[in-house]
């Protein structure tokens, strides 16, 4: 089967004291190539764990992940990752960070320079090419991280709250950039967020997860990402449709938490 297939994945962490954490329970998903899926859920519901399993950093307790028919057994450059922050190499310049993947793959200097130059243009950081990354602002650093990921031309891009540490304004601009890159490159993207608005705006599909045990609570198909590619970010976010869906999902999450809390109290 083509695309990214997550097949009945469960993850149980065993704690040093012998206790167990059911981080994921029977999660199944299928992404066609080029789909953008947003994953939303309260903290601790297993979002990062799911992404780490897809990336190949963790082996699931049960179930499997396949990409384009091949089973995922470890990290590979076909699955790129954008972390929340702190994953850039601070001993390198912006350009060296972006060129890291091709360089490790044995590309020639000229190839690397061409690719890096192009990608820095895409994320509008040309003039910061030779700055060490620690001198760049948070938003610029995340743009470097995006460019670094794209430099390897991965089939799937995994993003773990990539905009979570940014201020609201920068975040809004970055959302536009993510949409644009998605449309221009046609990559399959899994994007984790805990912002309902971001999930609605960016996700072609939206999966809402519930905690303890981490599982898929509800899945939606959304129209806004396609509009966002064309239209104006602000305009979309104040559409009655957008607001209604946002309220619906917020209510659902509230109810979900209530249910869990209530269950915890009586149980």
């Amino acid at each position: 089967m083509n695309g990214l297939v997550i097949d009945d994945v469960s993850m149980i962490f065993t704690l040093p004291d012998g206790g167990e954490v059911h981080a994921l329970q029977n999660v199944s998903l299928h992404l066609e190539p080029g789909e953008l899926m947003a994953v939303l859920g309260p903290s601790g519901c297993g979002k990062t764990t799911l992404l780490n399993i897809i990336a190949g950093f963790l082996a699931p307790t049960a179930g499997q992940v396949h990409l384009n028919g091949r089973q995922v057994t470890g990290p590979h450059k076909e699955r790129g990752m954008v972390f929340q922050q702190g994953a850039l190499f601070e001993w390198m310049t912006a350009a060296e960070n972006v060129g890291f993947g091709p360089r490790m793959g044995g590309a020639t200097r000229a190839e690397i320079a061409a690719k890096v130059g192009h990608l820095l243009d895409v994320v509008a950081l040309r003039e910061f090419a030779d700055e060490p990354v620690y001198r760049l602002s948070g938003g610029m650093q995340q743009r470097v991280a995006l460019a670094r990921c794209l430099a390897n031309d991965p089939d799937v891009i995994l993003m773990d709250e990539p905009l979570g540490a940014l201020d609201a304004l920068t975040r809004e601009k970055m959302q536009g950039l993510v949409l644009k890159l998605w449309k221009d490159t046609g990559k399959t993207i899994v994007l984790i967020t805990h912002s309902v608005e971001e999930a609605l705006f960016l996700g072609e599909r939206l999966v809402v997860m519930a905690p303890r045990p981490g599982r898929i609570h509800k899945a939606f198909a959304l129209p806004f990402a396609d509009q966002g590619v064309e239209g104006d970010t602000r305009a979309i976010k104040i559409q009655p449709d957008f607001i209604a869906t946002r309220e619906e999902i917020l209510t659902m999450i509230w109810e979900m938490e209530e249910e869990i809390m209530g269950g915890g109290n009586t149980g």
Binding site: A55, H76, G80, M81, F83, A87, M104, P132
Partner: protein, 302 residues
């Protein structure tokens, strides 16, 4: 606001006036960053110490056997047996003529060279071992008992054994300093490996890096700040260890110069030695800090 008088640069440097940063703070007691340099008092301390030295010389308050005169000409007595050249003159003659046929700079260089060689050898062995311990469980298991056992032993305690094995020549001193630096470097390198953020390693693997590439391009540069701190510590510890070793047995070096001088009751040479040791130790520390800023500008910025 324009009528607020700006203190002079000198006053700010001396710390008698608030600098532009501390000036805007109203809460100062309890805020360590709002405390001025107080350099005026540093100047006063140095001046007071020099004056005290001058005074005890001038008034003949101290027996020169215990503390040398600052300058022989100041001495109140005419007794030539007790009149000594004074530290300033002695220092000049040490620089020009040397001590016991060895120029002063050669004593200093001998000591510094021993430290550099010891630290170099210790780093060359300690860094790979520390990396092995940080990255591989067999290496960690094998080395851990040795490291944990030797770590709390002060290097000076090894001097008798090293003398038994290697005598008192150059090899013995290098070996002693090597041991002192080895464990510091090993522990620093291991800490550097452990300090890597897992997301950086994950990012590198996701970008297609192989294990050797992760080691070379992620683990190593990430560990450099800790390794450098280790180098600085080793330099300091080795400097102290070496001087002690030279006091025990050596024919050259600052420590041996002091030991010989002691036998001839040349307190001035002993005191000059002490001051030199302090100045060189301080200089090494400052050079290492400057080198660190220059070589590892990303330190603490991850």
């Amino acid at each position: 606001m324009a009528d607020r008088k700006q203190p002079s640069k000198l006053a700010v440097w001396l710390g008698v006036a608030d600098n532009p940063f501390t000036r805007q703070k109203t809460v100062k007691f309890g805020d360590a960053s709002a405390v001025n340099s107080g350099r005026l008092w540093s100047v006063a301390t140095v001046a007071a110490l020099l004056f005290a030295w001058w005074a005890v010389t001038r008034w003949g308050l101290l027996d020169p056997i215990f503390w040398p005169p600052l300058d022989g000409g100041l001495y109140p007595w005419d007794n030539p047996a007790r009149a000594r050249p004074g530290v300033v003159d002695r220092f000049a003659s040490l620089v020009v003529e040397g001590y016991r046929n060895v120029p002063l700079w050669e004593h200093v260089w001998t000591s510094v060279r021993r430290v550099l060689l010891g630290v170099l050898c210790g780093a060359l062995a300690g860094i790979p071992l520390g990396f092995a311990m940080g990255l591989n469980s067999v290496a960690r298991g094998l080395l851990d008992p040795v490291v944990e056992f030797i770590r709390p032993i002060p290097p000076l305690a090894l001097i008798p054994l090293v003398i038994l094995w290697l005598g008192i020549d150059e090899a013995a001193k290098t070996f002693l300093l090597f041991l002192a630096a080895l464990f510091i470097m090993l522990i620093a390198a291991r800490a550097g490996v452990s300090s890597v953020r897992i997301s950086k390693v994950h990012a590198a693997y996701s970008l297609g890096a192989s294990k050797p590439q992760v080691l070379r391009y992620v683990i190593l540069p990430n560990a450099l700040p800790e390794i450098f701190t280790g180098l600085r510590t080793s330099m300091g510890v080795c400097w102290g260890t070496l001087v002690a070793a030279e006091l025990v047995a050596a024919d050259q070096g600052v420590g041996s110069m002091m030991m010989v001088a002691k036998n001839f009751l040349q307190t001035d040479v002993v005191v000059i030695g002490i001051i030199l040791i302090g100045v060189i130790g301080f200089t090494i520390e400052m050079l290492m800090r400057a080198l660190e800023v220059w070589l590892i500008p990303w330190k603490g910025k991850g």
